[in-house]
């Protein structure tokens, strides 16, 4: 379960403050596949970063009792001068995961070949994406945060990745951020709509999509 307690978050922009969340309290079940709908700029990605713990709310707090992933598709957590293998070792240590198991899994999954022992700054963005995706699978999170499925790259849709994605959906909870109702409908059973600083949870995904489309 992830519980938001009186969470507020806003950003200062050139045109004054933009409110992302305005005093929101909510319980998110971590055994569901939740689709987050919201218009561009509503703060979906910020919400994801706050749930992952990367970013702090302005006030209130977020409680997590599941092992929550970093936002998938995010590849900025690697040290560019270290090799893939060295980065995996570091992240395994931080998460208290078995270094050998993680290394073996990712090496097999990401198919980086000799690049596995080369610095990340020599990688193409596709290679970085494969590495990050493989690593997040190896970590066996209980709740996966996914920012815009398509933006993660085409490797999602290769057979092996699709198979792994199905496994995640069987074994773990998901929270997918998207502005595409089609994506959300395909992968999610529960809906969460971010609008005007408020979050509304819908048990049925179609209700969430109706509510979201109603606004437009």
């Amino acid at each position: 379960m992830i519980v938001l307690h009186d969470v507020s978050k806003s950003y200062r922009t050139d045109n004054g403050y933009r409110v992302i969340l305005d005093n929101v309290s909510l319980v998110l079940p971590t055994d569901r596949h939740i689709g987050v709908l919201g218009r561009n700029g509503a703060g979906k990605s910020t919400l994801l970063r706050m749930i992952s713990g990367e970013e702090q709310p302005d006030s209130g707090w977020i409680e997590r009792d599941a092992k929550v992933s970093w936002p998938l598709g995010f590849t900025g957590g690697f040290h560019p001068a270290l090799t893939a293998r060295e980065n995996l070792r570091f992240i395994s240590r931080v998460y208290d995961a078995d270094i050998d198991e993680v290394t073996a899994f990712v090496n097999d999954f990401a198919e980086l070949g000799e690049y596995f022992d080369m610095p990340i700054n020599t990688f193409s963005s596709g290679m970085r994406g494969r590495l990050a995706f493989g690593l997040s699978l190896a970590m066996r999170f209980e709740f996966y945060l996914i920012d815009e499925l398509v933006s993660v790259g085409d490797y999602w849709f290769r057979a092996k990745a699709a198979q792994e994605f199905d496994r995640i959906r069987d074994e773990a909870g998901l929270l997918i951020v998207s502005h595409s109702p089609t994506t959300i409908r395909k992968f999610c059973d529960t809906g969460l709509v971010l609008r005007d600083g408020q979050l509304t949870l819908f048990e049925a995904i179609e209700d969430a999509i109706d509510y979201y489309l109603d606004e437009e």
Binding site: S52, G53, E54, E55, Q56, D58, V68, W70, F74, G76, G77, F78, H79, A81, L82, E86, R89, F90, I91, R93, V94, Y95, D96
Partner: protein
């Protein structure tokens, strides 16, 4: 409650050691001279200043060779200044670590400071052996006092570095001011001279700098027969508490603007 505290500490220990291992690899592993710099920088300093003082006809201070005066002061000073630099820079270079929610700013500061302390202790030991082998009359009267003074210099470097790192978030232009403060601290710390040779009325001002007390403490540890009369530990502790509190307040003030987890 106790369980949670123990669990929290073990996570923190795991994270700090992982960051240290990563820093060892990234900081020293990728430049050709690697760790050699940690020894070469103070070695060049001591040799060049020794030659300079020889021209002035100065060969000893506190009854010890001038090399020992310079070496003892410089190693303590480097503990401060290098820790400050590494900690301040961490706010840019280690930002990406904060995506992992269990990694906090405080862990990064502790990891970098611990690595700096270990590196400086090792470099000090190697240099002491080099000077001894070169026939310089080295003494080591109180190793504990030397280690404590160097550790305290690392602490002041870490807290000052943390304050600077936070301040840079709010006002990126303060870099010049920071450099001025670093220079002022260096010239008043006594790295380049023995406090006993400074006239009483001036010495009073130099001793406002807590680092001058710690460098005197380090020299008392090295030099047989010198008891570090200018090291006022209570004064240093007051500064240490003040710096720690300031760093904590600054951290709380800027953490939301900077982003990143902090517990």
């Amino acid at each position: 409650m106790l369980d949670l505290a123990v669990k929290g500490l073990s996570v923190q220990g795991r994270v700090i050691s992982a960051v240290i291992l990563r820093e060892i690899r990234t900081r020293f592993g990728m430049y050709h001279l690697g760790y050699l710099w940690a020894v070469l920088v103070p070695l060049m300093f001591v040799i060049s200043l020794t030659v300079f003082f020889a021209f002035l006809g100065k060969r000893s201070a506190y009854g010890a060779p001038i090399e020992l005066l310079l070496f003892s002061g410089m190693m303590a000073w480097l503990c401060f200044i290098d820790t400050q630099g590494h900690v301040s820079r961490a706010f840019q270079t280690n930002r990406q670590l904060l995506v992992y929610p269990m990694v906090t700013v405080v862990d990064i500061v502790i990891a970098r400071s611990a690595l700096e302390f270990g590196t400086k202790l090792a470099a000090t030991a190697i240099l002491a052996i080099i000077f001894y082998a070169a026939g310089i009359a080295m003494t080591l009267d109180d190793p504990l006092a030397v280690a404590v003074s160097m550790g305290a210099m690392v602490y002041f470097g870490a807290t000052f570095g943390h304050i600077v790192g936070c301040a840079l978030v709010v006002a990126p232009s303060i870099g010049f001011g920071v450099n001025a403060v670093r220079r002022l601290l260096f010239f008043t710390s006594g790295v380049l001279f023995a406090l006993v040779h400074v006239p009483e009325q001036w010495r009073h001002y130099l001793l406002l700098n807590p680092l001058a007390h710690l460098i005197d403490l380090a020299r008392g540890g090295w030099i047989t027969g010198y008891s570090a009369p200018y090291a006022d530990i209570d004064y240093v502790i007051s500064w240490a508490i003040g710096m720690g509190a300031t760093a904590a307040i600054m951290e709380l003030a800027v953490r939301r603007r900077r982003g990143g987890a902090m517990r």
